[in-house]
């Protein structure tokens, strides 16, 4: 099973993670009808020896952080799709975020899919249950070729949000966007006909709560298959790390050594 130790930067070495519960959004390819998947899912619990208890007394603050992160993730996902040429460039349009231009897709179904996904992830982030959000790019045979992993952790310290802090966070997020834009220099080209999907790695048994608060109908979450989580001969390429008072985030890419079939 995928464990934390795969990522070199992981600060949580003390945890002995054995199993992780994966949640996967059913891969909704462009223009295809989504088939409802049965919600019966087998959840593998992750047993941790020591776990920092994260109390977020101020729910508003947690919501603010979750909002910021979800907005950022939306922009980042669109940008990844653009830079990695998962979809033709024609559907992308320049928009502005964090005072810099970014490419966002205009395709309504794609946008809706991404928004729905993030809408479901947001409660997890609010409660700091989401550990990693992964954008997986897969080839025609549905084997992952690249994984963009956003590792998110929120420090237990509850800082007062101030203007300087938010603009600092904005600057850090801008740096992420910039790094994604130039990542094609360090990654190999993907084979044609790739699709993407998103995974969320959660802590503990957050999935149980997910079922209770099935936020969007017709948009079920299922446990990820091994096939989509594991990647043959992964190469780790770090992209960016940020540390701030409200959130710590790392972005790295795992790419398959042999991408072309």
């Amino acid at each position: 099973m995928v464990t934390f130790t795969q990522s070199a930067y992981n600060a949580r070495e003390k945890e002995t993670a054995e199993k992780i519960s994966h949640i996967k959004v059913s891969n909704k390819e462009m223009l295809c009808h989504v088939k409802p998947v049965s919600c019966e899912s087998v959840i593998y619990k992750r047993f941790v020896s020591s776990m920092t208890t994260l109390t977020r007394q101020d729910l508003n603050f947690g919501q603010v952080v979750a909002d910021i992160l979800c907005e950022f993730l939306e922009v980042a996902i669109h940008l990844i799709l653009y830079v990695r040429e998962v979809y033709p460039t024609g559907i992308f349009q320049k928009r502005k975020k964090y005072n810099v231009p970014v490419q966002m897709s205009c395709h309504p179904e794609l946008n809706q899919y991404i928004q729905d996904t993030l809408h479901c992830i947001k409660p997890l982030i609010e409660k700091n249950d989401a550990e990693k959000v992964v954008v997986v790019i897969m080839d025609k045979e549905h084997h992952p070729v690249e994984r963009f992993v956003f590792e998110i952790s929120q420090p237990p310290l509850l800082s007062v949000s101030s203007d300087a802090l938010l603009s600092h966070v904005e600057q850090l997020l801008r740096a992420f966007i910039l790094k994604i834009s130039v990542c094609d220099a360090i990654l190999d080209n993907n084979p044609p006909g790739c699709t993407f999907t998103m995974l969320v790695h959660t802590r503990e048994a957050a999935t149980r709560n997910m079922e209770k608060i099935q936020v969007i109908k017709d948009f079920p979450w299922i446990v990820a298959d091994e096939q989509e989580v594991q990647m043959r001969e992964p190469r780790l390429i770090p992209l960016k790390t940020m540390t701030s008072d409200i959130v710590k985030m790392q972005l790295y890419v795992e790419e398959r050594a042999q991408k072309m079939p």
């Binding site: 223009l31 295809c32 231009p101 309504p108 300087a164 801008r174 130039v182 220099a185």
Partner: protein, 467 residues
Amino acid sequence: MDDLYIDNIDEFVYDQNKIVTYKWLSLTLGVHVNQAKQMLYHYLEKKRKECSASQLHATYLVSGKFQQNGNTCHKVTVVREDQLEDTKSKLIVTASIHVYSIQKAALKDSSPLFSTDYDIIKENLDNCSKYSAIRCAIATPRTSEEISRLQSLAHVTTPVSDGQAVTSKPSINGDMSATKPVSQQAKGIVGLFASKTTSKSKETSKEVKTESKENSATAAVADKPVNKTKVPNNFFGKAATSKSKSSAQDEGKLIKEETNSQASLSKEVEKQSSNSVVKPAPDIKEELPKNSEVPPKKTKENKIKTKRLEHSDSENEKSESQKKKRRRIKKPQPESSDEEVIPDSPPSSSAKTSLASPHKEVKKEPANSTENTSNVRRRKKRKVLKSRTSRDEEGCIVTEKVYESESYSESEDDFSKSNKTQPTKSTASVKTVTGKKDDEKKGHKKSPASSNKGSKQASIMGFFQKK
């Protein structure tokens, strides 16, 4: 200069995978921009000779005289290396070419170029023009007394116009109306232009369009009371005042602002500049860039024109010169959490403010028409670019940007309302489409993409400069 910079650039490009623009380099190494350009050029030459530059990509800034539809203009553009020769051949006279940036990645669009400069300038707000080639002795930051005086002026006049800040639009379209700075936001820029309106009467056939972010952002200077984030405010305040004044001296600029009643932060400033003749030239002392080793810069014999061209060239370099010919800049909203559409390069026919005919064109939503009336409420019709998503006969989803007539009034209230209706319309159309079940296969995905591409040919593809 010693060769340490070669190693520096090497490290930036290869080890850190950064985009090294000349502006970024000049601020990082503390050298004059022209020296930075030469450094980049030398580095590029060296790497090319060594043949190890397989992964190195460069962009160039090309400027010169360009003719289109019978109009000549001064075109300043940032192009990729493979488009360099093509662009040069299209110009009647090439005024200047220099390396704009060097990076390992093959950039798909120009946004990272802007992002690179944005952060470094933000860090060096106080002295961002320290290494620049633009100089204007008259351009000095306003003193705080002046600012407070103008603010009180603005306070007095704002109650007149329905509680909304009215736009002041000094325009070049033959119809000069020297407007007083009425809006709080406009006071900084418009104060400059109040004196400049007289000089705009003389115009040449050449037009220069430069839109600088700093200029547009000067509007934010006034926004202090409402502006929540202080850092971006400072960024605009300090950088903009010095730059806007220096650039304003040279060419007449058209600035148009609207204020949104709700957000009270968002502004849109559109700045277009046109070449004005000799008058401002004596006021400007510019250092002519040293051309000796730089790739051929053909300067004009006319010194004044050279100054102007160089000025506009370097000014455009200062601004977020991207791979498009013209751009509209929207003033950034510091607190905005919605993505906004940055209009791509507008259709060329509408972009130019030619002298003969005052164009009333609104380029994109929520763009403003370049009108030259002020303070008068009038209902007018204008064409607004809207995005419509629909299904065509094959069942493919087509998103088109169409010009639609929309009636609006000069005052802020209605405009802000129309602003709001537009986003709701587009979201409504999105919802209706996603509600439909779509049975199409992947093969069809190409057709909406290509039809999108077709309809947006003018806008997105425009900045790949395939003209």
